[in-house]
């Protein structure tokens, strides 16, 4: 899953191995003074999380793998 915007990770709510439902909030990115929730597009298991709180991300940065 990729970031849709440039910004900073301010919350990471899941870890590798967890199961999530479609629509669940996975992490929050702060961009342009707004908090943008990143939601699971499908139900699945978190394979790997590549970012942590405080990381800067760009448009397209890979955040995590969900399968």
């Amino acid at each position: 899953m990729r970031s849709a915007m440039q910004g900073r990770i301010i919350e990471v709510l899941v870890a590798a191995g967890e199961s999530v439902g479609a629509g669940d909030e996975l992490m929050v990115i702060e961009s342009m003074k707004m908090e943008l929730p990143v939601q699971a597009p499908i139900a699945g298991a978190v394979r790997q999380v590549f970012v942590s709180v405080g990381d800067q991300v760009l448009d397209g940065t890979v955040l995590m793998v969900l399968e």
Partner: protein
């Protein structure tokens, strides 16, 4: 005269013009073969349908009535017709969703769809575009053509002046008269590439379509570098970066479906009302989600598409240009069966209006004005986008154009302020004339400027001269926020503040009320549609 000859003459007489009908049948068969089996095979090998297959899929079954099908270059041997290569396009009437339209499909199997044929000359049949103008029916271009070719110079034995505006003039007039759609279904260059944008809506197919005035060989000759067709003018360039193409289809079938969908929201021409669908979705439907969709934490983004989906008729939202100018969602939808234009700021992409989002908004406003359908705006407007990139893109001139398009529009317009409404971008959710209605949700907040940032500028002296500047700033901001409730504004201006769950019912009533106003506005708008 022998008996046999006499008999032959009589037999011929009773047959009437049957022999000529046989010749007609033969010539039609040549036309149906398009550029021949090799060309057709190549088309399929590239993952593309032929023009006749596309027409078959697009039109209501059995409704295609071809015209000018006998045009082409013929080969005669000893005075007998050997073969005809048809013209590089297939044109005709058809029904789309039960309504008449005119199709003009480029035939890539014939000379790569390029020019050829004679333009003008005495006695020419009305070209397809002119016919659509005179018949006042929607016009659909299935573009799959390379434009002009230098081969034609050799065929003619001379060059010619590129006076294409002579036969492009109807395409310009069409934009003010009937819905025009262009589908880019192959590598399209030259005039066809510009025709892609002489439309109210266009679509291209992922991977098999590209668009450019000149392709890689021309770029190499002019600028000296190598680039692939896909890099130069593929979907990533045109549906996401340039915004030249509105919608991206995964397949030709999907592209053709989008054409039908788009046209279903619009009338056949500007002199008629948009068609209302029978609707099973009650205006009184209330969605609980709307009451809490705007987060109380003001810094929290939300999915504005959910607002649109919860308010308009179920499944009726057709998004236009989802990949471009993503700060604004734009599209067509229905409210109680009546077509409407819809737009909503998208906080997931910053919500602030940049040049790209502004382009989409201007085209939507014009589309609604031209075809006489109401516009609904769900406003969460922080203002025009700031920053060096926005400046470089010319946000001020874009803003000026947006103001003009907003103020020039006449169709009924309803704005629902769901959250922010600030600045000059905010004023472009207000149409200061005609039938205009505004509702505000309790979460609404507005002003010429944001309080944060605005205080630091306006109260600079008080803050700087205070003992504790940070505390002073917070105190002044607190004072201003205390008077920022939309209810206070309503005391003075009469602004309607509503329960978000009532939005659908109120907008359905607005759209119903708008119908007689729209009817009185039928015809061509004073301000022409600008693509």
């Amino acid at each position: 005269m022998t008996a046999i000859e006499n008999e032959g003459r009589e037999a011929a007489q009773s047959r009437g013009w049957e022999p000529e009908l046989q010749e007609l049948k033969q010539r039609r068969q040549f036309a149906a073969k398009m550029g021949g089996e090799e060309g057709i095979a190549r088309q399929h090998a590239q993952g593309k349908l032929t023009v006749r297959e596309r027409i078959d899929q697009l039109a209501d079954p059995g409704s295609f009535a071809e015209f000018m099908g006998l045009m082409g270059s013929a080969e005669y041997v000893d005075g007998k017709l050997e073969r005809i290569t048809p013209k590089a396009a297939v044109t005709g009437f058809c029904q789309l969703n039960g309504r008449k339209a005119i199709l003009n499909g480029g035939d890539f199997t014939v000379r790569g769809g390029s020019g050829g044929g004679s333009h003008g000359g005495l006695g020419m049949e009305l070209p397809a575009s002119q016919r659509a103008l005179e018949w006042r029916v929607p016009y659909v271009r299935l573009l799959d053509a390379a434009g002009g070719s230098v081969r034609s110079f050799e065929e003619l034995g001379r060059t010619y002046l590129p006076d294409g505006n002579s036969f492009t003039a109807p395409d310009v007039q069409l934009l003010r008269a009937v819905p025009v759609v262009s589908a880019v279904l192959g590598s399209v260059a030259g005039l066809p590439a510009v025709n892609a944008c002489l439309s109210h809506f266009n679509v291209m197919v992922k991977g098999t379509s590209q668009l450019f005035p000149g392709g890689p060989p021309v770029v190499k000759a002019a600028l000296g570098y190598d680039v692939t067709k896909e890099e130069l003018g593929g979907y990533e360039m045109h549906t996401a970066q340039s915004g030249v193409i509105d919608n991206l289809a995964e397949s030709e079938a999907e592209a053709l479906g989008m054409i039908r969908s788009f046209l279903s929201y619009l009338p056949s021409n500007v002199w008629e009302m948009a068609p209302r669908l029978g609707c099973g979705d009650e205006p009184a439907r209330r969605e609980e989600r709307l009451l809490s969709i705007i987060p109380r934490n003001r810094r929290r983004a939300y999915n504005a598409r959910h607002i649109v989906e919860d308010v308009v008729d179920r499944e009726s939202f057709f998004e236009i240009a989802p990949g471009y100018g993503r700060a604004r969602i734009t599209g067509l939808a229905r409210l109680h069966g009546y077509p409407v234009g819809v737009m909503a700021n998208n906080p997931l992409f910053g919500a602030a209006t940049d040049v790209a989002a502004g382009e989409k908004v201007m085209r939507l406003i014009q589309l609604c004005d031209t075809f006489h359908i109401p516009l609904i705006s769900f406003a969460d407007e922080p203002g025009f986008m700031v920053g060096v990139e926005s400046e470089r893109a010319g946000i001020e001139r874009a803003g000026a154009r947006l103001v003009m398009v907003t103020c020039d529009s006449q169709m009924p317009w309803a704005t629902v302020v769901v959250n922010q409404l600030y600045g000059v971008a905010g004023q472009c959710h207000h149409r200061p004339s005609g039938m205009f209605q505004r509702y505000a949700w309790p979460s609404a907040n507005w002003g010429s400027m944001h309080i944060e940032g605005g205080v630091a500028a306006a109260y600079r002296r008080e803050i700087e001269t205070s003992a504790d500047p940070a505390a002073k700033l917070a105190e002044i901001e607190g004072r201003l926020k205390a008077i920022a409730s939309p209810f206070r504004t309503a005391e003075a201006t009469g602004q309607d503040v509503i329960d978000p769950r009532d939005t659908r019912r109120l907008l359905c009533a607005f759209v119903e009320d708008a119908q007689p106003i729209l009817r009185s506005q039928l015809g061509q708008t004073a301000v022409p549609y600008r693509p």
